[in-house]
């Protein structure tokens, strides 16, 4: 069931190209904006890490806002509720969809960041960076799915989505940005402090469980 919904979501995205291109374009544009706003050609260390994470976070808010809109407007929720399936299937499928969007976004945004702004070369730090990105993506996807479902059926959904998501994602930014900062330092990349990875892991676990526990209540009518 999860697989069926996931395939549907990915097919819709492939045909409409609604979220991922917008997210990627948004992130590249934001890097250009940062170049002019900071008046710097290259960045490194905690500044680089901060720029990357804030950009990725804002780009993911775009997807979070769109995640359930088609279901709400075109009766996807009704169809799903009529089907005799476990409601958590929708959560898991949407979570995986968002996760896939984020991964594709990063496939575009991270090389663009390396090309446009980052001073140390991307190649050496890439394996460790991918690990941090994936850990953070899981947290963003879990919270994003929950917030998307919460906000989509309110009148002010475009406003409430970011307002709810950004404070909830502060721990992700703290963990991911601090973990990436030593990687992006000029010269020899430093070691990643383990506690940031632990923070991200704990965040993923807690909000994964919370999302699983409360998601059913969002779908009751």
């Amino acid at each position: 069931m999860v697989w069926a919904i996931l395939r549907k979501e990915l097919r819709v995205e492939l045909r409409t190209l609604e979220s991922v291109p917008a997210m990627s374009l948004f992130s590249v544009t934001t890097f250009v904006l940062f170049h002019f706003a900071l008046a710097r050609d290259t960045v490194d260390g905690s500044l680089a890490s901060g720029i990357l994470w804030v950009t990725l976070l804002f780009a993911s808010v775009l997807a979070i806002n769109r995640l359930f809109v088609a279901d709400e407007e075109q009766g996807g929720f009704d169809g799903f509720l009529l089907a005799p399936v476990d409601r958590s299937a929708l959560l898991i499928a949407k979570f995986l969809t968002l996760l896939a969007f984020l991964v594709v976004l990063e496939v575009v945004a991270v090389p663009a960041f390396g090309l446009l702004l980052l001073e140390p070369s991307l190649g050496r730090i890439l394996p460790r960076l991918i690990g941090i990105l994936l850990l953070a993506d899981v947290g963003i996807a879990a919270v994003g799915t929950l917030v998307g479902a919460l906000a989509v059926r309110t009148r002010a959904r475009d406003l409430l989505g970011p307002l709810l998501a950004l404070p909830l994602l502060v721990p992700v930014v703290i963990g991911a940005a601090r973990a990436c900062a030593p990687l992006m330092a000029v010269g020899h990349p430093g070691r990643i402090p383990v506690r940031w990875l632990e923070t991200l892991g704990l965040y993923d676990l807690v909000f994964g469980l919370v999302a699983y526990a409360v998601f059913d209540f969002l779908l009751e009518d």
Binding site: L163, L164, I174, F207, F217
Partner: protein, 247 residues
Amino acid sequence: MYGKGLRALSITTALIMTGAFALAFFWAPEDADQGFSQKIFYVHVPMAIVALCGFVAGAGMAVMHLWKRDSRWDMRSYVAIHLSIILGVGVLVTGSIWARVSWGHWWVWNEPTLVSFLIIFLLYCTYQPLRFSIADPERQARYASVFAIVAGAFVPLNFMAVRLAQQYTHPRVLGNISGNLPGRMEWAFLACLLGMTLLFVTLWKYEMTSKHASSQLRRLKRLLGEDGQAKGRRTAAPATREAATPV
């Protein structure tokens, strides 16, 4: 039902708060470093602790609401979170004043407790807009409870993350709560904490009583055929359908 014992509770709260502040100002010794300005500690810290406990209590009540399907729990959760947000404004203002006096800036980023509190406060600020933008009262209650639970789980996690982010050896009074306060200060602090908790409970009961009374009034008016004046008004407060069932 909520009005029972309210007078006695109010008087106790007033007495204990007065007593606690008297202890804090006249009995507890002045702080060697910060002098008189440290007295704001007896307002700021209990207020912060009570506000955070109020948020978590609101989450617990939201769990009860989703579990028992009783809209009264939603009302309780709403009132607890609502009061905690108001206390939260007080926490940020007193914290800011304290920071200004002792560190010379209105806002300091290296005080993890204050920063965590700001993030939590920003999150809870969306509670009312969320409620307000859902028209159907039943769904409003359900979604608000989901929000309250998620945010309640966020409170401890956020504190942990922010505290990790600033492993600082700042001379903090807050770090000393766990036993390093000199005896008199600690007793005065505990008295203030008790007073603040009682204040929260009293205000909570007052608001519950008021909501309950006005919903009963509406019900009586409806019975008398005077319906229609409250209808159609959007509100962030939970619909008081409890009036339909005798309590």
